[in-house]
């Protein structure tokens, strides 16, 4: 059976926020791959433990685009810890819901962000240096 996106999802699909790259990003993280048909690259700039800027590029379906868009909008300006609380459930809620078979697409951005911060912390952990 087909599925239906609500207006808000469509709006984010048609006018995605924060698309692009950040040249001097602190972290660049890619999840997925063209082989699995879903791929997202997240560019993050941090300042004083806050997400100063974030951009994305995605090779993915409409839900992947819309969830990445709203996710970047939601984490921008937040502290890293606050941003880590924006899980896929939060994203789906913020969009007013997704068709059941599309819910998994909302994992891409939070996953990428989570991985990114983990890597970043590891790299900047004084104990590890």
């Amino acid at each position: 059976m087909g599925y239906e996106f609500n207006e808000k999802v469509i709006e984010h699909f048609e006018n995605p926020r924060n698309v692009g790259e950040i040249e001097d990003a602190d972290i660049v993280e890619t999840v997925g791959s063209p082989v699995c048909g879903d791929m997202l690259t997240l560019y993050i700039k941090l300042k004083d433990d806050k997400v100063e800027d974030v951009k994305f590029k995605t090779f993915g379906c409409g839900a992947a685009i819309a969830t990445s868009s709203i996710f970047t909008e939601m984490v921008k300006g937040k502290t890293v810890d606050e941003a880590l609380k924006i899980t896929s459930d939060v994203v789906v809620d913020a969009l007013g819901g997704l068709p059941e078979k599309k819910v998994h697409c909302s994992l891409l951005a939070p996953d990428a962000f989570h991985n990114a911060i983990e890597k970043y912390k590891k790299e900047h952990d004084p104990k590890e240096q």
């Binding site: 048909g37 379906c61 998994h104």
Partner: protein
């Protein structure tokens, strides 16, 4: 908003003339075709004239046509029915890697119950090689089922030669002709076909109706059980209005076949050329010759198909893709992958399928709207490298 329907391989609009023909059978001549009274006889007569119309389109005898509930059921009855009827002769079935799920899943089911199935590979055009087929035949082979034309990339197979090979070895030959009927001239005699599946809704007839052609003398076992309708092969009260509409759709397709093919081929070629010219890094999937007159299938580098379909939908264009991002994970078309296309390109495929009702205008609209959409999606894609 303008709406342009270009997903005719998924389903088609029912022809007005077909609707008109069906209408009286809903509330005037509504009898059960098995009943012994005037209402029943009207229904039975309508059924038999529809049987003639379907038979005429494929060069069969009316008595060789069995009405079903659609292409899937025709495929199931053909494959399971032949397999079960010939169990004592052998347990080997040959099919291709690019069949519709109605064939592939039925074959997989048979594998679970002790049959052996060979899934023949295809070349870059989606074509099964005759020598591969010849080599695959064993003493145990009881059925060869190869589709006439592919639903995704439009490849038309050389069924006549395959049929001859099968006949020569006394093996039943079935072809899923759901996509080709009404778009490719086909004669079951000429093409040595023993069983053939058709679905009404792919040729401007109503949904939920189909037919299975079974050559006289072919041993086949029923797989649905009940009141003995359709000579026991497909019991259930006959869907008279649906069958009448299907018959009419076949008659129309028969009468306009040459004209329809010419119309669709010319629009198809214009569309293919227009897209490939306008959009860099786009490739045509499927063959250049012996291709369904209504099929266009093109992949765009770095673009994901479902996003493309959604963007097209937003400007009123209905098309489809070989990408299905469903429940758990995305899957690329098994057909495109079988032709050797990369996953990325398979995910980025767009199928545009025409019908006799498609106009120059529709094609022009696609050529206007598609390039900027592909450009926009590429600008968002991490895989796209500007040159």
């Amino acid at each position: 908003m303008k709406r342009v329907y270009l997903d005719n391989s998924a389903t088609t609009a029912v022809d007005r003339a077909v609707i008109e023909t069906m209408l009286p059978y809903f509330d005037k001549a509504y009898g059960n075709a098995s009943s012994f009274h005037s209402f029943g006889r009207e229904a039975a007569r309508a059924l038999e004239s529809a049987r003639d119309q379907v038979a005429t389109l494929i060069g069969a005898k009316p008595s060789e046509i069995y009405f079903t509930a659609g292409g899937t059921e025709s495929d199931n009855i053909a494959i399971l029915g032949i397999a079960y009827a010939n169990r004592d002769k052998g347990n080997h079935i040959i099919t291709s890697a690019i069949e519709h799920p109605a064939v592939l899943e039925t074959c997989r089911h048979l594998e679970e119950s002790g049959f052996k199935v060979t899934y023949l590979p295809v070349d870059i055009d989606g074509r099964v090689s005759l020598s591969d087929l010849r080599d695959a035949i064993t003493e145990e082979t009881i059925l060869i089922t190869i589709m006439h034309a592919n639903n995704e990339i439009g490849t038309i197979q050389h069924v006549r030669d395959m049929g001859a090979l099968a006949r020569d070895r006394n093996i039943a030959f079935h072809t899923d002709a759901v996509q080709s009927i009404g778009k490719v001239p086909l004669d079951v005699e000429f093409s040595n076909i023993d069983l053939l599946s058709i679905s009404s809704h792919k040729l401007h007839g109503p949904k939920g109706v189909g037919a299975l052609y079974v050559r006289e003398g072919t041993a086949i076992t029923p797989v649905i059980f009940g009141g003995g309708h359709e000579r026991g092969l497909r019991p259930s009260t006959e869907n008279v209005p649906g069958i009448v509409g299907f018959g009419k759709a076949c008659e129309i397709a028969h009468n306009r076949l040459d004209e329809d093919i010419e119309h669709m081929s010319s629009l198809r070629d214009k569309l293919i050329k227009g897209i490939l010219d306008a959009i860099p890094k786009s490739v045509l999937n499927g063959p250049c010759s012996d291709r369904l007159c209504n099929n266009v299938n093109i992949s765009f580098e770095a673009v994901e198909g479902e996003a493309l379909i959604l963007a097209l939908d937003r400007v009123g264009i209905a098309a489809s893709t070989g990408s299905a991002c469903s429940s758990k994970k995305s899957t690329a078309s098994h057909v495109l992958l079988a032709t050797g296309l990369s996953e990325q390109m398979a995910y980025g495929s767009l199928r545009i399928s025409l019908s006799r009702f498609t106009t120059e205008d529709d094609i022009g609209y696609v050529l206007e709207k598609l390039p900027p959409i592909v450009e926009r999606l590429r600008s968002m894609s991490p895989l796209w490298k500007e040159e």
